[in-house]
């Protein structure tokens, strides 16, 4: 019998996979696989380039040539476009430079000093308890000399605020040590001639007086009304090792909710509105009441409105469908926080602000995969056809995982969407796509850790963490210690790093390994564990996860070192067998659709 060469190609949101097989009769021998980036939006003619190069690479690996290929099989893919938006819903504002609440690495002295703010070159005219304010350009020796001289004249210098990182140097040269806060970048904005307090806690401690409402009331002799007014200041300073509070006539710290507009969700014959600043839980609750979702719109002129409009526009460009016909079919809202520089801060203070991240997804029925098939056929000089629908093919591929049986559900953990498909005992297949996947995880990690570099956020998502503890060893996040025979570069010394295949890469953060790890795992849980349950409920018989027996994880994120565990944890209560797909017992979670296409072709031939 002749052996025919068949190539299955799976065009996904972010990757295109190809799988070469030699077929004779009903026996299939898999020869090689390859993976490339998807070109263009899935389901559009732009996919041709990626598909052709994936086929060529797979042939290369299999040691075969294009002329031997009989048929290329493509999946019928629903174009799914996802969009992301982040809305900050709270904001901290300091007016009239009321406080400085930052954590310089090395403040000087300890204790609390309460007095009137005076510029250092005006100390000679001052009287009473005084807080010296020192601008940039002052040398530490001169500052110490000036303060010592003032004290000698009988002036009661109780504290100091410095522009440079000089606090320890100055305090070491004073005859009477005082608390000193340094690295105050905008020191020139500190109001002079005002009553103020400076507090520095001993190493390993946080301030006690200025972070307490009654502490502030005692220091500034406030009445109950005024005390109510300053309580946000106390809250903002909690957890700091040092702080400065200046009492200005109308100074204030406000913790403001920003109105961010509403989201309108339409489905199940209802139209409901929800305020985005109500948070993720409220949004998802309303979404649950309008399932299945027909469309979602955001209030014009707000971020949400802008984001949803943009997703719609992209889909219009891609499919040629008018914007009015494009519907947003799913939304995922996630509560998060974004460290934001405090408005009006003098030392680059950062406050964690609440935010809501939204992922939205559109799909159309109008796939243009036939165009891709025709173009692939022309490029490779062979037959190319649409071999089957994505979800069905994925299930078919997943079923080749040892230990699985029908009914089987697959969860495809992608970049833009999380997809679920179910094959029941009667051979009926159903599939859903829900918004939110790997891209959203990267975005959450990046914003919560304030990483300005997307690559770094991606590295935090993909690789375990470690702390570099010397030039020759790191401590991994699980506590194991690894020695390196060659010295580690100094730019990673003492840093939190991601253990990439190329070696430790620094994460630009002052947070501990534990904190970064928590942010990473929470981001994955909030997206994938939540979506796994959401998607499976939509395909499970009667919406009950207990009716599922086998759940197979597929897609790039199924290769992640902890996402499968997080999903297994989330599903543990439902008595489901959940594990990572191992297509054909050897391919792992990749290539399920591509090899499913080949298998379907052989079975149908």
């Amino acid at each position: 019998m002749t052996r025919r060469l068949v190539v299955g190609v799976d065009i996904g949101n972010s990757t295109t996979e190809a799988c070469v097989a030699a077929v004779s009769g009903d026996s299939v021998e898999y020869l090689g696989t390859a993976l490339t980036h998807t070109t263009g939006v899935k389901g559009t003619p732009d996919n041709t380039d990626g598909a052709v190069s994936a086929v060529r690479r797979a042939l290369d690996r299999a040691g075969r040539t294009e002329s031997e290929v009989e048929t290329v099989l493509l999946n019928e893919a629903t174009p799914v476009i996802s969009g992301l938006a982040m809305e900050t819903i709270s904001e901290t504002i300091i007016t009239e430079s009321t406080m400085i609440g930052h954590n310089p690495a090395t403040p000087g002295g300890e204790g609390l000093g309460v007095g009137t703010t005076v510029a250092i070159d005006a100390l000679s005219g001052a009287s009473g308890p005084t807080i010296a304010v020192v601008g940039p350009g002052w040398d530490f020796d001169d500052v110490a000399t000036e303060l010592n001289a003032a004290t000698e004249r009988g002036l009661e210098v109780v504290a100091a605020v410095l522009a440079h990182d000089d606090a320890v140097l100055v305090v070491n040269r004073l005859r009477t040590p005082i608390p000193v806060v340094d690295e105050v970048g905008a020191v020139e904005k500190v109001p002079l001639g005002m009553r103020a307090a400076v507090e520095v806690a001993p190493p390993g401690r946080t301030i006690r007086t200025l972070s307490d409402s009654y502490g502030l009331a005692s220091v500034f002799e406030l009445d109950p009304d005024q005390t109510k007014h300053v309580s946000p200041v106390a809250r903002a300073l909690t957890g700091n090792r040092s702080a400065v509070v200046v009492r200005t006539p109308s100074g204030d710290v406000t913790d403001r909710r920003i109105p961010v507009g509403t989201l309108t969700l339409r489905g199940a014959g209802k139209t409901l509105q929800v305020d985005v600043d109500a948070g993720a839980e409220a949004i998802m609750e309303v979404l649950g009441r309008v399932q299945p979702l027909d469309d979602a719109t955001g209030e014009a002129g707000t971020h949400v409105g802008g984001m949803l409009a943009q997703v719609r526009d992209t889909m219009t460009d891609v499919t040629g469908q008018p914007a009015a016909e494009i519907r947003i079919r799913d939304v995922l809202a996630v509560d998060t926080f974004v460290p934001k520089e405090v408005r009006g801060g003098l030392a680059g203070e950062v406050a964690p602000e609440n935010a809501v991240a939204l992922a939205a997804m559109v799909r159309t029925s109008r796939s243009r995969m036939q165009v891709v098939a025709d173009e692939v056929a022309a490029a490779l000089g062979c037959r190319a056809e649409i071999g089957g629908v994505e979800g069905e093919m994925a299930v078919r591929g997943a079923l080749t995982t040892p230990g699985t049986a029908v009914p089987i559900a697959v969860l495809d953990l992608g970049g833009g969407s999380t997809d679920a498909a179910l094959l029941d005992r009667d051979g009926v297949c159903s599939a859903v796509h829900v918004a939110g996947a790997g891209e959203l995880v990267t975005k959450l990690i990046g914003s919560e850790l304030a990483l300005d570099d997307r690559e770094q956020a991606e590295a935090v998502k993909r690789h375990p963490l470690a702390k570099v503890e010397s030039f020759f060893h790191v401590r991994h996040e699980d506590g194991t210690v690894q020695f390196f025979p060659e010295p580690l570069p100094s730019h990673v010394f003492a840093r939190v790093v991601t253990m990439t295949p190329e070696g430790p890469a620094p994460v630009a953060t002052r947070h501990s390994v534990d904190h970064v790890r928590r942010v990473r795992r929470e981001a994955k849980r909030k997206v994938f564990a939540v979506n796994a349950v959401r998607a499976l409920k939509q395909v499970a018989p009667g919406g009950s996860l207990r009716m599922l027996d086998f759940v197979v994880l597929l897609g790039g994120s199924a290769l992640d070192f902890e996402i499968p565990d997080l999903i297994a944890d989330a599903l543990a209560g439902y008595g489901v067998v959940c594990g990572i797909g191992n297509v054909h017992g050897s391919e792992g979670p990749r290539n399920a659709v591509a090899s499913g296409l080949v298998d379907a072709h052989v079975a149908g031939a």
Partner: protein, 111 residues
């Protein structure tokens, strides 16, 4: 050994005294003591490495005759210092050299 823990700083005595002052200030602001030794002329890196071998904290700083600075750790290869600051660099950079040495001792990120 009764030697007090300190970063050892070796210099040749020829460089501008301001260089020595700023480098020492960098370590002092971080709260780590330094011990200053005047030795015969050599390159900053060699001085720093010899100083590191001498230091109970295994951390050394070298300042050569022209005011170039190097920071070294005893466990590192002699020609691979942690940091070098060129002669004639502005004061804040010199301050950072001292800070780097102190941060090696405290196991804090260097920048």
């Amino acid at each position: 050994m009764t030697e007090k823990p300190a970063i050892v700083l070796r210099h040749t005595g020829y460089a501008d005294p301001a260089v020595l002052r700023e480098v020492c200030a960098g370590a002092e602001e971080e709260g780590v003591p330094t011990r200053v030794e005047q030795v015969r002329e050599a390159g900053a890196v060699a001085l720093a490495h010899a100083a590191a071998l001498e230091s109970p904290l295994e951390t050394g700083i070298g300042i050569d005759g022209s005011g170039g600075v190097a920071v070294h750790h005893a466990s590192l290869p002699p020609d691979g210092p942690v940091q070098r600051v060129e002669a004639g660099s502005p004061r804040p950079d010199l301050r950072i050299a001292g800070r780097t040495a102190a941060r090696i001792v405290k196991v804090l990120p260097l920048s």
